[in-house]
């Protein structure tokens, strides 16, 4: 069974990029473009890795995490990794408190670094 990866990222190009990147590696990839859709998918759950962007319209990444805490997903999401452009400690700290396992700074990493990082959670 292929590992399931969910990408929640509002920028279309980035979303498509990650989709392609992980599909090429052979994973089963789903992607959504806003927090609401992301929350719905995460509710169903069952993903091995969720890449959750922080800055999104409607509901942001932290909000999603909070919602998940109150309404537990049907199936567990094994690892949630926050995507961010800034490395602001306060936000990262809150994310970890809300259940995130890691974070990566999109603009700082090359695609191969991204792959390596995500693979470590699988």
């Amino acid at each position: 069974m292929a590992k399931r990866i969910l990408i929640v990222e509002d920028d279309q190009f980035l979303r498509e990029f990650y989709q392609e990147l992980f599909s090429d590696e052979g994973y089963s990839v789903e992607s959504v473009g806003d927090g609401e859709a992301g929350l719905a998918k995460m509710q169903k759950g069952g993903y091995d890795v969720v890449m959750l962007d922080i800055m999104m319209p409607k509901i942001d990444g932290l909000e999603v995490l909070r919602e998940l805490k109150t309404r537990r997903p049907e199936q567990e999401n094994k690892a949630i990794v926050m995507l961010t452009n800034l490395g602001q400690d306060a936000i990262i700290k809150t994310a970890f408190e809300l259940g995130a396992k890691g974070y990566l700074v999109k603009s700082a990493m090359n695609p191969d670094q991204v792959l390596t990082e995500i693979k470590s959670y699988l």
């Binding site: 920028d11 190009f13 980035l14 990029f17 392609e20 990147l21 800055m55 452009n85 800034l86 400690d89 999109k106 603009s107 700082a108 090359n110 695609p111 191969d112």
Partner: protein, 752 residues
């Protein structure tokens, strides 16, 4: 004749003693010194009285009175002397208990001998000059007794005199003088003369001696404030002299009458005379005042208490700072004192140069103003500064020889007549008229007396000061008001500006953070896809295309770097960077950095390591920020050191700060350029191509500097010149005991 003289002296002695005694007692009865002096005086008075009665027996016979006299001496005079010597001047010391007991027992003994035996006084026989006492063998004992206690008291006083200074010493001097004279006269009249003449004819006037004592005491009271009864004494002395004079006068009159009419002299009448004289003197003052009050009321004379009026005016003038209130005070005083039918006070307003009528009654406004706006009048007043009284002008005009002055005075007179002004009181300050008081005639139609003019002058002078003060006060308060308004204005402006600045600051911060976030998203996309294009081997690329794409990738990386740096700087400068100091090992941190960049170093074959392995003390700073700095510096060194080069890191501690040095043998820095490095965009133009590929933005060192300074450290660079390598150094605080103890308080250091 001799008798009369005797009577006079005796009565004088009695009265003066009683008065002094009364004063002393009335002054401060609680003070033992005063009390004793009171008793002393009373004793003297009684003594004088008994002596006189001995010569002119009344009710009892001479024997009784002479025994009474000696009793007074034994207990009263000697006793007082004895006690007074101890009590004076502090009122606290009393004779020693044995002394008191000795005195009392001896006194009682002598008294017994006096009263119930005839060893002391054998009897009284009548001689030509009056009664004479036969003294017994015990008289000597009496003398010895007096001498003992007399000298005792004297010695005590002498000791006090020797050990005292200043005021007390002078007072004691007078006391001694008085005592000496008293003792002298007494001895003379009571001991020596009797021995010479063989009789006691001069006994009765020996009371004159007390006068000396009392006189000296009184003098020292007046001069040296003895026993606190100075002030009243002045008046009393005057009264006493008056009484004595009056008494002598009246007695002389009575005696002359008796001599002429050949009727016998009756001492009772003389006594009455003395009492009457006393009463007259004491109440004369009050009678005078009463009479003049009645007269003035009856005759409408304007009698006023000059001093009271002046006092009231002075108090009133010094109480207020408001011109209209001051004017009222002046009007009241004038009304009280002068009783003019018209009065007005005009005060000049220096801003408009007009005169304002502050208070007035009886005057027509036009008349006052006419006078005051008459230039010649004003210039005359300012020139002379004197009070002008209409009745006197005629007199002055006839006396003046100067034609110019004459004309001026004539003008003044006609103006005063026109305006119905009788008195002009100008109030000048520095030769300029600031106010003027105009008065009409007195209601009683009396002329203004010299005393009136004096009072007016005094009031005018004080008013000048008061009005000037009022004016200054007004100036100061209005200045203050203006100032307050201006300050309020300025403050509200500043507040507006401050608010605006805060708003702009927030706008800037919001813009920067939003921009940096928004910018990074597309940049990440660009970078990612190009990377994919370059690294996916199944995408066919010509060499040229690969070249172009590589350049685009590098530029994108640089762009991302630049945006990061700008965001960092913006956050540091607006104080949004959180510095969270901890105690950590700088050596370990450097090792971490070395590990991270090791790959790059290997690529260029550069040796990178820590120089010595000795113990490095722990430091107190924010490890994240320090990591950033070290990464940046090491990264720089890597960029600017050619292949095969060497980068070494070393530490140095001076106990308080730890210096970290990153040395390379790379391209070095020219001396002129050293100062440019830590500024914004301080890149050196003569950097290698390596710099172009390094992605350096020129902001890195500036950020390092800001971060190190936020950590309370310093950063600097040393280089021997181009081609000779460079050493970047920074210092951070060592985690000292002081710091470790106060970790909690230090950890609260946030934005600086």
């Amino acid at each position: 004749m001799f008798d009369l003289l005797k009577i006079n002296i005796v009565s004088l002695a009695i009265i003066t003693n009683l008065i002094i005694g009364f004063l002393a007692v009335r002054g401060k009865f609680s003070n033992p010194v005063n009390r004793f002096l009171g008793i002393f005086s009373l004793v003297f008075a009684i003594w004088a009285g008994t002596l006189y009665l001995y010569e002119n027996p009344f009710i009892f016979d001479s024997l009784f009175w002479i025994k009474a006299t000696y009793s007074v001496v034994v207990f009263g005079i000697i006793g007082c002397m004895f006690y007074f010597a101890y009590i004076f001047p502090d009122g606290k010391t009393y004779p020693p208990l044995q002394g008191q007991v000795g005195f009392l027992s001896l006194a009682i003994l002598i008294e017994y001998i006096l009263l119930f035996t005839d060893k002391f006084v054998r009897g009284v026989s009548l001689k030509t000059f009056g009664p004479a006492t036969d003294l017994g063998s015990f008289y000597l004992g009496f003398i010895i007794y007096c001498s003992i206690f007399g000298f005792w008291g004297l010695i005590v006083l002498i000791k006090k005199y020797k050990s005292s200074i200043g005021l007390v010493k002078s007072q004691l001097k007078f006391l001694f003088m008085g005592l000496f004279l008293f003792v002298l006269t007494t001895i003379l009249l009571d001991s020596i003369l009797p021995l010479l003449y063989g009789d006691t004819r001069y006994f009765s006037i020996s009371s004159v001696g007390s006068l000396f004592f009392v006189g000296c005491t009184a003098y020292s009271i007046i001069m040296h404030r003895l026993l606190d009864i100075r002030l009243i004494t002045g008046r009393i002395v005057v009264n006493t002299l008056l009484i004595s004079f009056l008494v002598s006068l009246m007695e002389a009159g009575a005696v002359s009458y008796w001599l002429i009419t050949k009727t016998p002299i009756r001492p009772g009448v003389l006594l009455v005379v003395i009492v009457v004289a006393l009463i007259i003197v004491l109440i004369y003052d009050k009678l005078n005042k009463l009479a003049s009050n009645i007269a003035s009321r009856f005759l409408f004379q304007s009698v006023y208490d000059y001093q009271k009026t002046l006092l009231d005016a002075t108090l009133g003038l010094s109480k207020y700072l408001d011109v209209s209130k001051l004017a009222k005070v002046v009007t009241n005083s004038l009304e009280q004192a002068m009783r003019s039918d018209r009065a007005v006070i005009l005060v000049r307003d220096f801003n408009t140069n007009y005169y304002k009528i502050e208070t007035s009654y009886g005057f027509e406004e036009r008349d006052c103003l006419n006078l005051v706006y008459n230039i010649s009048v004003v210039s005359y007043l300012e020139g002379s500064g004197e009070i002008v009284i209409l009745e006197e002008i005629n007199h002055i005009i006839s006396e003046t020889e100067n034609e110019v002055e004459k004309t001026a005075l004539e003008k003044l007179r006609s103006q005063m007549k026109d305006s119905q002004v009788s008195v002009i009181i100008p109030i000048l300050k520095n030769g300029v008229m600031i106010s003027v008081i105009l008065l009409g005639d007195k209601i009683s139609k009396d002329a203004y007396s010299v005393q009136d003019v004096d009072l007016l002058k005094t009031i005018a002078t004080q008013s000048a000061v008061a009005f000037e003060n009022a004016r200054l006060y007004k100036e100061v308060t209005s200045f203050n008001e203006e100032l307050k308004l201006k300050i309020q204005d300025a403050t509200s402006n500043l507040q507006k500006v401050n608010l605006r600045l805060k708003q702009l600051d927030k706008l800037k911060d919001d813009f920067v953070s939003m921009a940096s976030h928004e910018l990074r998203t597309p940049m990440t996309a660009i970078k990612s896809y190009i990377w994919m294009a370059l690294s996916h081997s199944d995408i066919p690329l010509s060499l040229k295309l690969k070249n172009y794409l590589t350049k685009i990738l590098v530029s994108t990386e640089r762009l991302i770097h630049l945006v990061n740096d700008m965001l960092n700087i913006s956050r540091i400068e607006s104080g949004k960077v959180e510095v969270k100091p901890e105690i950590f090992s700088i050596k370990e941190l450097v090792k971490e950095v070395i590990e991270e960049v090791n790959l790059k170093a290997k690529e260029k074959n550069i040796t990178l390591g820590i120089l010595d392995s000795s113990q490095v003390p722990q430091v107190f700073a924010d490890p994240e920020k320090i990591m950033q700095v070290v990464l940046n510096l090491v990264g720089n060194s890597l960029k600017f050191t050619p292949n095969g080069g060497k980068i070494s890191i070393s530490f140095f501690s001076d106990g308080e700060m730890l210096d970290v040095s990153i040395s390379d043998n790379g391209v070095g820095i020219a001396k002129d350029d050293l100062s440019k490095l830590f500024t914004k965009f301080g890149r050196l133009d003569n950097s290698y191509i390596a710099a172009a590929t390094s992605g350096g933005t020129g902001l890195g060192l500036y950020i390092c500097k800001s971060l190190i300074e936020l950590s309370k450290g310093k950063i600097w660079v040393e280089s021997d010149g181009v081609g000779r390598g460079a050493t970047f150094k920074f210092s951070i605080p060592i985690a000292s005991e002081k710091v470790i103890e106060n970790v909690d308080s230090f950890s609260n250091l946030r934005y600086i």
